[in-house]
Subunit: 223 residues, 2 copies
DNA sequence: CGTGATCTTGAGGGAATTCAATGTCGGTGG
DNA sequence: CCACCGACATTGAATTCCCTCAAGATCACG
């Protein structure tokens, strides 16, 4: 199947890139169809039936929610190996969009649920995915009570860990995306990146490329 | 963690849990021991083995996490019918404390997981509990990006919904607890309650008792 | 009644936002 | 090729909102 053409990232073992989800690869990867989304395309909308879940093969996606007055919160960013869109309810509580051109494996939820009813291991995996997501969102809450400086530092460390390319990180998302993820304004994110740059903690060769020069300084801000 | 002696085994027939979790009542209620915790007692600590999960019979509990510099985040409040402490990992990521004197049903996780391996319905329920918690935490994130006024208003509506006693709410938690839940200071919470009172949106017969006078005003702030 | 814990209120300061202007980059067409 | 354009990002100035610090007020309880 097409799934095998998934891009390989820098993991030496040649296994799935994201830690903790390796065991989910096999069964799930074999059940879905591979689809592509262009940059900025909507993958699903808030309130739509949650009939499918998605596993990122390449590219980056985000989930988001827009409040009545236009404020937007980004629930999370999803890179190769990540799963999103899994709900127990009937509807998606967030919408999802492609940040960069994306290849995704799409799996029908009902198929997984039916399989889980017979296969205990699959049931355990569905639970594990939800549970991991829960832990991620709990971490996100801790982020939102920190100062702007700390949020930005934590964000950089998180991204560096999830897109492991040494000390240089190629951010797939805009400043506005980062701001809406961190609960800040674009300007505040930008200012704090500049401050970190002036402190020689990071380098900004271009706006989307960030080099972590002093990780311990970032970790100190990670509180 | 304090080891409590079980007050009673099993559970009386016909207990009626709280809305939305009714279906979880039967199987789970029958599997655990009933224990009591006094006000302010720790139920479990962050990083401790997540060997048990808890269902509130009476009273209120909270989960919380303290950052290195002393800032505290409250993950959630749990009232009669709510389940907390369920993790897929080996350790609790938050600690849990009794806010008021509490009776809890304690269930061994390994027993549930073992049962889930044979009983698909139990597996589905474990997933449902985690999934509900995920949705709750996602809502919490939306709270944390709002203004102080909005957070307080949303909190009041949430509590009024979860402790359904008409328009009067008897809050089991302190202002500091509310503040740490909302990502604000105690003073800011207090000030905004006063403002809402002066606007005739709520009444404060005592600091812990709040009467919602104008729900639509609160809903308007709910954004 | 005191005493401590909890809550409210006030004044001042600071961090993040808002509004506005300038700067940078990648693409497109002259 | 480079000039221009739009999208995105940075920087500046003023303001707003929340926090900090401090002083009272209220409540529960011995």
């Amino acid at each position: 199947m097409l799934i095998q053409t998934a891009v390989r990232r820098g993991s030496p073992q040649g296994r799935l890139p994201i830690e903790g989800q390796d065991d989910l690869g096999g069964p799930i990867d074999c059940m879905g169809a591979l689809i592509s989304h262009r940059r900025k395309e909507e993958i699903y909308g808030e309130g739509e039936p949650a009939d499918y879940l998605y596993k990122v093969v390449s590219g980056t996606a985000r989930t988001s929610k827009v409040l009545a007055d236009g404020r937007r919160q980004i629930g999370g960013f999803y890179v190769a190996g990540d799963v999103f869109g899994l709900e127990t309810g009937e509807e998606h509580s967030f919408s999802a969009e492609a940040i960069s051109d994306c290849k995704l494996i799409v799996i029908k939820r009902s198929a997984l649920v039916a399989l889980a009813a017979r296969n205990h291991d699959m049931a355990r995996q569905l639970w594990a995915i939800t549970s991991m997501e829960l832990r991620r969102v709990e971490e996100h809450i801790l982020l939102l009570i920190k100062s702007a400086r700390e949020r930005v530092a934590t964000f950089l460390l998180e991204m560096a860990e999830r897109i492991p390319t040494g000390n240089a990180v190629e951010l797939p998302m805009s400043r506005q995306d980062i701001a809406d993820y961190l609960g800040l304004t674009m300007e505040t994110v930008s200012r704090n990146l500049t401050i970190l740059e002036n402190a020689a903690t990071i380098e900004l060769p271009s706006s989307r490329r960030i080099v972590l020069r002093n990780r311990s300084a970032l970790n100190r801000l990670n509180a």
